[in-house]
Amino acid sequence: MLTRFCRKIRALPFAALLIFASVLPVMAGPFEDAVAKFANDEFTDTDEAIATITTSGNPRAYAIVSALQDGRLSADPDTKKVYITQSDGKNSDASTGAPVASIPDSAAPVRLNNRLRRTVEAALGALTLQSPDPAKRIQAAQSVFKAHDEAMLPAVDSALQKETNKSAKLAFSEARAAILLFKEDATDAEKLEAIGTIKARGDQEALALLVGLSGEQPPAIARAAANATASIQSNLAMWSAVQNAWYGMSLGSVLLLAAIGLAITFGVMGVINMAHGEMVMIGAYVTFVVQETIRTSYPGLFDYSLLIAVPLAFIVAGAIGIVIERSIIRFLYGRPLETLLATWGLSLVLQQAVRTIFGPNNREVGNPSWMSGAFEIGQITITYNRLWILCFTLAVFALLLAMLRYTSLGLEMRAVTQNRRMAASMGIATSRVDALTFGLGSGIAGIAGVALSQIDNVSPNLGQSYIIDSFMVVVFGGVGNLWGTLVGAFTLGIANKFMEPVAGAVLGKIAILVLIIFFIQKRPRGLFALKGRAVEA
């Protein structure tokens, strides 16, 4: 990826400049003129200004270019003065660094487009090769690797010699290899060694580099490059299977989270609750309200917003669930068709109610810092929000299981499910247990809403997209069995993700539905059927 900036500075002895940079404070002249160009608000002028400033060797260069990248550089079109807003909120004059009390109102942030953003990245890479912070040096080496510009070779060589940090050293040698690979007059031996280094890196960017190596190459090098490409490709293919499995687990965890509440109301109580998705939606809106309150009153607590939202969502959705059970569903036990219609209507009522209160638009629910971004294992990218949701789902599942197993409410619930009349004769208040069970299922749906607000949009339609999938999971896994729901959710998730790259998202989903239909034909009670007399009751 060659930028215009790189083309411009190719002719310049870069290493020398970098050494001079720290020694020579440049007075007036081209540097100041270049800085003033930012005030013109023209992309071409900004481009020229960046090129001049980067190669000027002026010690202010790094501050200016990094401020430009973060949108902290503003320019006044009237006075042609350019200002930097420092990260601590103080302002200074860009070309002199002298503090400025305040930036005039007529000044506006200097605008960038994508081409300029790339130029800025490359420029920062050049300016930070010798940075004292190893993380910054690695970043710089990466941007050199991407741009693989010949003019950078001396600078990279000198940086490599001085480098003591192990991973920075690797990054520099990879950057050097990338440059040598595309250098016209590099010897064959150098190029072969470069191919070896890039092959060892083995990721998609390395592949992109090797594939991009075209034109007239000596046969030995072309062969080595082809071999390296093939080996990286087969390596990546293996990783892509691992990646699909991970995506499947992550999708499965979302399905499980949405379905687990339903597994209780539908699976345990036999109530077809079409308003289950709306409980999820209510949970998501609780998260929104919590975050909104935190934003306006206690901004410091933002990272804890989800922890606060989880119990609140459970209580709100659970309470609504109990009200629904007491006012509607308890009159409809044993009449599945009426229950289905009544809860369907209820789901529309809830949706419209939320739409009236919060408006039809999406509401913004932010990710706390510990849920943003991603990390890499080998060649796969794992995003933090998905990882946390997986952990959270498993924790909810374990808690629910423990509750059913070890608490008296759990015992009563199991008793009522297995034989309602017998349980009633033993003195269990079955209608109270019904209400609490329904409340529990709804409350868990509310918790699911908190998690789903992190990956989906918070709108009145949020619940609708999950209700069908949830029923699918519960029916597939086996009605009345939590373990069945767990296995069902992960099976469907993983199957879906392995199908998707082959068949596409639309066909993949259809294929899964067809498979489930066949499966239900074969095993009407799902994966894990309840055995015994209880089922017939």
Partner: protein, 428 residues
């Protein structure tokens, strides 16, 4: 009095009152139908348009209405239900006797009401960018045709970003499929190879984008500059952009240009990781013209919400509404036949400093802007067409539609075949 008689009396009273009020209203107001979903999936986008028409009517009434009469809005809710659109349209025209209808968002809802408008001979103003391949006598298309949005956006990426490899990602329905067909033909005519085009469709409301984003990343690492052209619609955009941000795809590596993402959609996302991704529209809220600033100020005052955003389809309604007013004032009548004949050639200012004109094919001229997403949920215009672009009803890129034109002035035909010199052909 028995209960039944009470009921009968009550019903009679209500009927009488209703008849009285509607009879009174019919005398001194002109009725305008508003056919936008206020509930269901599409409410997210369409509710704003309902408010826009109410706002425009309010402004017009402040100026004294039209032909000395006040305007009165008749709002119905087709509830994102396509057959219901047709029913409600019929109700508006036959029962409420509206002079014109402003409405619809999805193409399928427009197709559903078309027969009704033809049969009852009324006027529909359709404000959303769509796939083209249509020109009907009773419909006026104030949104962008593909050559007013998709093609200029691709041109920009090719020229300014030097994009060589293309991902066409869309939601699986008629607008993305037709637009992508047009784009694919266009890209191939510019020498892009089949291997360098990846087409991907997802269901409505798709929320798990991990695989597709990873595929895009893989597709983009073939040593050539890659861009995504997104016709992903509605709700699915938020999780898509969140996944892009999380997997670290930056606009400097693989820019995404979207045709259905505007200020309203961005309101639900933290846009910091999305800085630099693009959208192509005929209007952006951030465009600084006196007309736009006045419109935004009045709109926010009308909705009593100082943060309320504006967007492209709103501007389309603004233009369409003003064109209708001018046409009615020109022929001094709200008779649909007269207004339909008067509309082509009518000019009305748009909010970006130009003057849009209704064309004989019932599309309008519009400028095209490319905007980059900023950190505050607004767009920064980085490119625009030098002048206004005339909307093509029939795409020049597709076999079969290339020779067709819509001309309701000279030829009185929506699909006139210029090769065979006769009316009729595709889409009749």
């Amino acid at each position: 009095m028995s209960r039944r008689r009470w009921l009968a009396a009550g019903a009679g009273l209500i009927l009488g009152l209703a008849a009285f009020t509607s009879a009174k209203a019919a005398d001194d107001t002109i009725k305008i139908g508003v056919l936008h979903s206020l509930s269901g999936t599409m409410a997210i986008s369409e509710t704003t348009l309902k408010d826009t028409i109410l706002f425009l009517i309010d402004e017009q009434n402040k100026k004294g209405g039209v032909l000395g009469k006040k305007l009165e809005a008749v709002v119905v809710d087709p509830a994102s239900n396509w057959p219901l659109f047709a029913e409600k349209a019929r109700e508006l025209i036959t029962k409420d006797k509206v002079a014109v209808v402003f409405g619809c968002w999805t193409s399928v809802s427009r197709k559903s009401v078309l027969p009704v408008f033809k049969e009852l001979n009324n006027i529909l103003f359709y404000p959303v960018q769509y796939e083209g391949e249509e020109s009907e006598r009773n419909v006026f298309y104030t949104g962008a045709a593909p050559n007013q949005q998709a093609i200029p956006a691709v041109d920009y990426l090719m020229k300014d970003e030097k994009v060589k490899r293309w991902v066409l990602a869309g939601t699986d329905y008629v607008y993305p499929r037709t637009t992508n067909k047009i784009l694919e033909a266009y890209l191939k005519s510019k020498g892009v190879k089949q291997d360098d085009i990846m087409i991907n469709y997802t269901p409505f409301g798709h929320s798990d984008w991990q695989t597709i984003v990873a595929d895009i990343k893989k597709f983009g690492s073939a040593g050539k500059k890659t861009a995504v052209v997104s016709t992903i619609n509605g709700d699915a955009n938020v999780p898509f952009y969140k996944e892009l941000g999380n997997q670290g795809i930056k606009a400097t590596d693989i820019p995404v240009v979207a045709f259905s993402v505007g200020e309203e959609e961005l309101a639900g996302i933290d846009t910091k990781p999305l800085i630099g991704h693009l959208a192509a529209w005929n209007y952006f809220e951030s465009i600084k013209t006196p007309g736009n600033e006045k419109f935004i100020k009045e709109w926010q005052a009308y909705t009593k919400n100082p943060k309320r955003t504006t967007n492209d389809p709103m501007e389309a309604h603004y233009i369409g509404f003003n064109m209708w007013v001018k046409a009615v004032e020109k022929v001094k009548s709200t008779d649909p036949d007269k207004v339909i004949d008067a509309l082509p050639g009518i000019e009305a200012p748009n909010l970006t400093g130009g003057v849009s004109k209704m064309l004989p094919n019932h599309h309008i001229t519009k400028p095209v802007f490319i905007g980059e997403i900023k950190g505050n949920g607004q767009f920064d215009v980085v490119w625009k067409t030098p002048g206004l672009v005339a909307g093509d009803a029939w795409s020049k890129e597709l076999e079969g539609s290339r020779d067709l034109i819509g001309d309701w002035v000279g030829k009185k035909c929506g699909n006139y075949n210029t090769k065979l010199n006769k009316c009729g052909g595709q889409g009749s």
